[in-house]
Amino acid sequence: AQDKITLRLSSVNTETDSRAIGLIEKFGPGVAEFANFEPHWNGTLFKQGTELEAIARGNLEMSIASAQEFSSFFPEFTILTAGYVHQSAEHQIAVFNDPIMDPLKAKVEAELGVKLLTVMYLGKRQINLKGDKEIKTPADMAGIKLRMPGTDAWQFLGSALGASPVPVAFPELYTALQTGAVDGQDNPLPSVIDSKFYEVTNQVVLTSHLVDLNYLTISKAAWDAMTPEQQAATQAAADAAAEHARQMQLQKEADAVAFLESQGLKVYEPDVAAFRDAVQAAYLASDYAKDWPAGMLERINELAK
């Protein structure tokens, strides 16, 4: 009908990404009765990291936003970007639905007009290196030039892992690895395959140092304009899309190890406990921890059981 709501989503990921497939296959059909879901991939509508502003200013309805993006508005979100905080896909869901998240969600709604709909699983970030030096503990990472995204928070995580973090733009990363400008990079395993990093690296260290997530967000104004039934349908569609994407991503991660090994890469687990201890100690000693809401880390750890 003419009076259908338009829900435009802007995101930087490609159309073939699990998140995109989940939204196209589950979210769009789930809201089709009352809304036109109009996704724009590859950052063609709004640039990476500017979608929240676009929603806040009434120029966009939906986005897929990282905790890092929220932390540039609200420092307390850094707790959700820290290494070894989230431990699995299920743990992410438990944290998202726990009352401990309520004050953060309320603040985002009040100050940005953005509502967090659901949590999307990106995968466990692993360290992917050139060379055959075996990595057991953070001490073995000393002097390794590890590419991390360019912002301070990511660079901090790189240092916490014991490496020398290097900021390299993602489009330059393949060449940087090929030429040895960097010795390695960290991403979930499906990215190692999609971006062909396995062609120019020799090993994967399964540190699982960050279980990465995104939030599916919607404009508070668009949400408030819906009837309660429409809101319920939108929430159900969002959860279904996230679940579909999560299962796909988990499957991809499971398949990735065999593929990478078939390409001649060594894939192995280091002393994860040693990494976890070093990284958590680094965060707790840093300025980041000062912004964390009291008791939140304890509650999150509790939810992991």
């Binding site: 030039k145 912002t151 660079q155 020398s164 973090p165």
Partner: protein, 173 residues
């Protein structure tokens, strides 16, 4: 008055040149830090991007002469001077209307960023983006002056279009 404007223009030039030199130096520091001393400076990326933004809009606001602008001149150069002048004035009017219309919304946009901080230096982004307001302001002033000159019947536009330029008291390049 002319001497003041000229002094301001030289100062603006010096700032532009200094920002580019600073950006160059930051890149060298970044490379040196990484490869000579084997650690990385997170702030270099952000600062060089901020400087680039400022170079573009500071330069466009205060330093670009008419001849520095990239333009598509196929038709423009093939018509007579009087027609060129009419073209120039139509363009000036269109520019002033568009920039004035977008001025307050843009101010609102830039002001919005007081709640978002840059990722590394933690500077509120409204301070970074404010240079765009300077750019808009200067464009409006310049092209308004050109319309005023035209209405007053000044005939010094010629091919050089010198009065596009508010600060430039010399006769263009």
């Amino acid at each position: 008055m002319d001497r003041i404007l000229k002094g301001l223009r030289h100062a603006a030039d010096a700032v532009a040149a200094g920002m580019l030199a600073a950006m160059f130096a930051i890149f060298l520091v970044q490379i040196a830090a990484r490869y000579v001393f084997s650690f990385s400076l997170g702030w270099t990326v952000e600062l060089s991007l901020s400087l680039w933004l400022w170079i573009v809009f500071w330069g466009s606001a205060f330093c670009l002469r008419p001849a520095d602008h990239i333009r598509f001149d196929v038709l423009y150069l093939s018509v007579q001077r009087p027609v060129q002048r009419v073209f120039s004035v139509i363009c000036a009017v269109a520019i002033v209307i568009a920039f004035v219309a977008a001025y307050l919304p843009t101010w609102d946009y830039v002001d919005f960023y007081k709640i978002k901080r840059s990722s590394t230096l933690r500077i509120p982004l409204n301070y970074v983006f404010i240079i765009y307001m300077a750019f808009m302001t200067m464009i409006i002033l310049r092209y308004s002056r050109m319309i005023v000159d035209f209405l007053r019947g000044k005939h010094d536009l010629e091919g050089k279009i010198t009065s596009y330029d508010l600060i430039d008291t010399e006769t263009g390049r």
